[in-house]
Amino acid sequence: MTSTKIPRKASAGLVILGVFFLMALLGPLVAPYDPSAFVDIPLQPPSRAHLLGTTGQGQDVWSQTIAGARTSLLVGFVAGLAMTTIGAIVGAIAGTFGGLVDDVLSLLTNVSLVIPGLPLAVVLAAYLPAGTKALLVVLVATGWAWNARVIRAQVLSLRNKDFVAAAIVTGESRLYIVFREILPNMTSVLASCFISATVYAIGAQVGLEFLGLGDMSLVTWGTNLYWASNDAALLTGAWWTLVPTGLSVALVGTALVLVSFSLDEITNPRLRAVSDWARALATRGIRPGASTPVVRDHG
């Protein structure tokens, strides 16, 4: 077997994700303070006692960031998984069955795609009892359709492949084909759907909580930002109550996207070939121009 090295982008992404997972997992062991407790004078800048300072409520920001990772990542990944599952089921059934089933499911998907997510999420979240379960329902309800669309398109292109055609000819049941022949053959698409769904879920969760929807007594990245903004962090110059959480959200999001880039390169080798090509030219001091380059030293 030829050794397939993990692309640089993917390893960077996986390392960042690993750090945050550890943080979430070991949270209470690493955190110096109880994240919701009043531990010191409010709004102190970072110091030796409080690495990232204290909030307007006198809580330790570092402890809050760690505790936030646990809830936010959990909700993000569970919602991402649920969205991918629903998207895969709807998309695969629509793509495999075709006809009226496809028409109805595609219409449902498209309708739910064009209805703007956040305002709907607000209405849903306002009526549902505040809590993590309701938040999950809201995130999945507003975010499943994109995956269904992507997966349906992929299934349509797979349907013409030999092994699927063979299964159809041999009279396998449609559902058997969906779950045994089609879905297992699109793991990379499912993985990138899962990644984009998780990125969406983390972002939307932070946004909803920032609006004050959800359980404000929990410590999550969203509630951290909500309270920071409520305590007028900006007007008092307390940037340290905002930066760690915002940076965490962005780092996790970027790490996920980097992993998905690499998946893209693996499934679409042409992309990687072109980067190799550009690098090969660069080592010879040739800038890629509009015309096919002439490289003389090559054997």
């Binding site: 703007p116 209405v123 900006l234 072109v274």
Partner: protein
């Protein structure tokens, strides 16, 4: 024109779906949010006014289909009830205050982000593997991974608060009265700059990446090879032949992404106390103003559907192949 009709059908259906969701959600919710909602008006509204409000939301006590009919009838008369947060103003009047500002902020920043992102994507794909292509996408992905409102807060802190060069809040200077004068328009532009910039920063990366990948696909097409063979200038090949075609899938994606960007832009409004729908939304959430929330949901959905249809018209203009069908 079949294409436009089909899309129009989709939007009508989506509009109906959102109206109906708006009707169903309060009824599905556990507990009795409706009673809680009406309880908030007790002592503020005359019994007759309260009865009218109940009717507007279809809480008539009759069977469900009658409730639905009553709800729809009021909706089509433009009756969305009375706001709690802005009592005793009607929800429609409250919404009217914010709609223009949201349209201005979201509209201008989405258009700028789309144009800029597409341009950057074209350049990155043209020089793929080059320095520009290897550094800018990860950087913009990183920027785009921040919550919109977080970037807004940082810009506000940096330029508005610390440097004090740009206004911190509102859509125009409080001392000015809205008019078509130069000083008023200049003030509007000045107030628009920071919130719009944060939306552009957060969303430009997405447009760049999708344009880049669409462009890479198009660059492998025969008509681009032909354009090279024809000895045309690189700029002409890049824009007239490649980008014109690569733009098409991005325009389709524009409609879909609009709703998403709008969510971020509503949150950005809150940071800047920009008097649009987002600002109203947070007021509605804080005072549990259900009629206002639902009103915002409906108006924004209708606006997004209308914008989607405009994009479809644009698409037909850009792609001659859709015209015949």
């Amino acid at each position: 024109m079949r294409y436009l009709l089909r899309q129009l059908g989709l939007y009508v259906l989506a509009a109906w779906a959102s109206l109906t969701l708006n009707f169903i959600v309060p009824r599905l919710a556990p507990g009795d949010p409706a009673s809680a909602m009406f309880a908030r008006y007790k002592g503020q509204l005359q019994p007759e006014a309260l009865a009218a409000l109940r009717e507007a939301f279809g809480f008539t006590g009759g069977p469900l289909h009658e409730q639905y009919a009553s709800y729809l009838a009021h909706l089509f008369r433009g009756d969305l009830g009375v706001s709690v947060a802005y009592f005793p103003a009607k929800v429609t009047d409250v919404l009217g205050m914010g709609l223009g500002w949201t349209a201005l902020l979201t509209g201008s920043s989405v258009v700028v982000a789309f144009a800029l992102g597409s341009l950057l994507g074209v350049i990155a794909a043209w020089r793929r593997g080059g320095a520009f292509d290897t550094t800018l996408p990860p950087l913009l992905v990183f920027l785009g991974a921040f919550p919109y409102f977080w970037l807004a807060m940082m810009l506000l802190y940096g330029f508005g608060f610390t440097l004090d060069v740009l206004p911190l809040r509102h859509a125009y200077d409080d001392t000015l009265a809205p008019s078509l004068s130069f000083s008023f328009l200049a003030s509007v532009a000045e107030h628009l700059l920071l919130p719009a910039t944060s939306i552009v920063l957060a969303s430009v990366g997405g447009w760049m990446l999708s344009m880049r990948s669409s462009m890479i696909g198009v660059l492998a097409e025969d008509y681009v090879t032909m354009a090279h063979a024809k000895g045309l200038s690189p700029l002409r090949i890049m824009f007239h032949y490649a980008a014109r075609n690569a733009l098409l899938p991005n325009v389709t994606g524009f409609g879909m992404a609009l709703g998403f960007v709008l969510g971020g832009s509503l949150l950005t409004e809150i940071v800047f106390s920009y008097p649009g729908q987002g600002y109203l939304l947070v007021q509605a959430v804080r005072s549990q103003d259900y009629p206002l929330m639902q009103g915002i949901f409906l108006t924004i959905t209708m606006a997004v559907l209308a914008a989607n249809f405009l994009v479809d018209v644009l698409y037909v203009w850009l792609d001659p192949r859709t015209r015949g069908r």
